[in-house]
């Protein structure tokens, strides 16, 4: 069985982030890049399926990212994935959700797969829109927000989170799932894993190599950033030392009254 895990490389959340006003894109130089934390759950889910299925099951990491991110992809290999496919091409710069989903789908189809596992969202854009679009372009069932996943041959059973509770669903491979952070506790790479990852293959492909037959970069994007602004910073408000509960509560009620919130 071939399991592919899509991962995104994102700027560290705590890092200072800046947008270049001329290109209207995130300045990624000088900002530490990390694996999107949500994708670690996807990798862990794949590894657990592999451990259970045994045999010739493989886990391949797939990312659309600049080649400079290679060493971060290696972290996923250190966790235990078998190999990785990086689509790195200057022509992919500035691609939007549409372009990213389309390109990843072509690369994944060309590579071959039984199951694709994605994270729920990314910490830099937090859109959570890629997995659904990817499932469409792959033409396979796409089960999102999965918190429990079981495979029996090609029969897939999942429990997915919903806004009002949860649902149990079933489908068949090939399929795509996106997993939430309640599905597992991602492992830390072991020393052996880190050493082993150095010898694993990270194939770097251009868009053409990956079978992407349409332009997907900024010119082809379906969306265009027309303006960027820094919202007014939230100023420091009042700090009130409450002598006791009544004083504290009274202060809050007065404050809410002033703002017509009660």
């Amino acid at each position: 069985m071939k399991i592919l895990v899509t991962v995104k490389l994102v700027p560290d959340t705590t890092a200072e982030k800046r947008i270049d006003p001329s290109t209207k894109r995130l300045v990624r130089t000088g900002v530490e890049t990390v694996l999107n934390p949500f994708d670690e759950y996807a990798i862990e889910a794949a590894l657990q399926l592999k451990e259970k299925a045994g045999g010739d099951t493989t886990v391949t990491i797939v990312t659309l990212a600049p080649e400079s991110g290679k060493e971060i992809v290696r972290k996923a290999l250190a966790m235990g994935a078998d190999d990785a496919l990086m689509i790195s091409d200057p022509a992919a710069e500035g691609s939007d959700v549409w372009g990213t989903a389309y390109a990843l789908a072509q690369a994944i189809k060309k590579n071959g797969f039984d199951l694709v596992i994605a994270g729920t969202q990314s910490t830099d854009s937090t859109t959570g829109e890629l997995p659904g679009a990817l499932a469409e372009y792959l033409g396979v069932p796409g089960v999102t927000y999965v918190r429990k996943l079981d495979l029996d041959g090609t029969a897939l059973k999942a429990e997915r989170e919903t806004d009002t509770g949860y649902a149990k669903v079933s489908t068949d491979l090939p399929a795509l799932v996106s997993v939430t952070k309640s599905i597992n506790e991602p492992r830390y790479p072991s020393l052996k894993g880190i050493m082993g990852a150095k010898k694993k293959t990270i194939a770097v492909q251009t868009l053409a190599d990956a079978g992407v037959d349409k332009p997907i970069g900024s010119d082809a994007a379906r969306t265009e950033v027309t303006n960027l602004e820094t919202p007014p910073a939230r100023g420091k408000g009042q700090i009130f030392e409450a002598a006791d509960a009544v004083a504290g509560a009274t202060k809050i009620v007065e404050f809410l009254r002033e703002r017509k919130l009660v």
Partner: protein, 324 residues
């Protein structure tokens, strides 16, 4: 892009408030574009939701109650939406920025090869061009995004617009079942745990508890009581969720929900950056913390320094007294 199509999410025939907010705003956008508003309501009890929608400014309400919509996950809904969007023609499609809204929006975008933009807090029409405003990078920048092509899909963050009743034409039409489809994801069981409750995303007041709350019990007693007194919902920091004191659906922050309530009261929460990015766009932020030097003091409108266990019940009491 001339018309506006809105996907109306409903819980057992009751439109979710975010959908009513979107319905109220859609008319303004459609008028500026010289088009009309089409609402799409799907699934069991869709007719009831369509009736409720008549009090809002929508022109045409497209309804399908096909049992396949609930028997199979998402694909039937995408088929109906795609067919309706193609029948309407070039349009701006508005979905709620909720789990189902995101899912549907992204799939519809793929079907239409269209652009999509998420977590939109405002839509501006200028000279026939649509721009969607959304906070990015944890709210540190506001981007305006335009669409290229015939369709654009925007997922709207709850609490971005006011839900205002004002009846439109409200003509109801039944959608035809898309032909020749087979559905592959069977829903074996659907469990509704929180039907009547507003989620933290939709509530206009959120009372959130953190590690300082110390255990599960205060979430269902003093915090819930304060939330009830203000007509709000209970939220939490990740520390509280990870400790198992309250469900993940209540978590606010980078790995939880991003919300914009009118009032956010942070109780025993220090205000770490990962928490801040989920709630910094609240209109008013009040914090209760025993420590006057916590990070949340840097961006709360009011930080009351004191013990949460005595202040919170007293606050509920005073608010209730003020109302009576």
């Amino acid at each position: 892009m001339r018309d506006v199509i809105i996907f109306v999410e409903h819980v057992q025939g009751q439109p979710r408030r975010v959908s009513l907010e979107i319905a109220s705003k859609a008319k303004e956008i459609a008028t500026a574009l010289g088009g009309t508003v089409h609402a799409i309501v799907l699934g069991k009890n869709a007719s009831a939701a369509a009736e409720a929608l008549k009090a809002y400014p929508v022109d045409t309400i497209h309804v399908a109650e096909d049992p396949d919509i609930d028997a199979y996950f998402i694909d039937p809904s995408v088929d109906y939406l795609e067919a309706a969007a193609k029948a309407v023609g070039p349009a701006l499609v508005l979905v709620p920025y909720t789990m189902i809204g995101r899912d549907l929006g992204s799939r519809l975008a793929a079907r239409l090869d269209a652009g999509q933009t998420a977590d939109v807090t405002d839509v501006v029409v200028d000279g026939g061009k649509v721009a969607c405003v959304s906070p990015k990078l944890g709210g540190t920048v506001l981007t305006s995004c335009a669409f290229k092509g015939d369709y654009g899909i925007a997922a709207i963050r709850p609490n971005s617009f006011k839900a205002a009743q004002s009846a439109g034409a409200g003509t109801i039409v039944q959608l035809e079942k898309p032909a020749g489809k087979t559905y592959r994801i069977k829903v074996d069981e659907e469990v509704v745990e929180a039907a009547g409750e507003l989620g933290v995303e939709e509530a206009s007041t959120v009372i959130a508890g953190g590690r300082g709350v110390g255990g599960p019990e205060p979430f269902s007693t003093i915090l819930k009581d304060l939330a009830d007194s203000l007509g709000g919902s209970v939220g939490a920091s990740r520390a509280a969720v990870d400790a198992g004191w309250i469900g993940h659906g209540h978590q606010v922050g980078q790995t939880g929900k991003t919300i914009s309530p009118n009032l956010y009261i942070a109780v025993g929460i220090s205000g770490a950056i990962q928490h801040k990015v989920g709630m910094r766009t609240a209109s008013t932020i009040v914090a209760i913390n025993k420590d006057g030097t916590v990070p949340i003091g840097e961006f709360a409108d009011l930080l009351v320094v004191g013990d949460l266990f005595s202040i919170v019940p007293e606050l509920s009491k005073q608010i209730r007294a003020g109302h009576s």
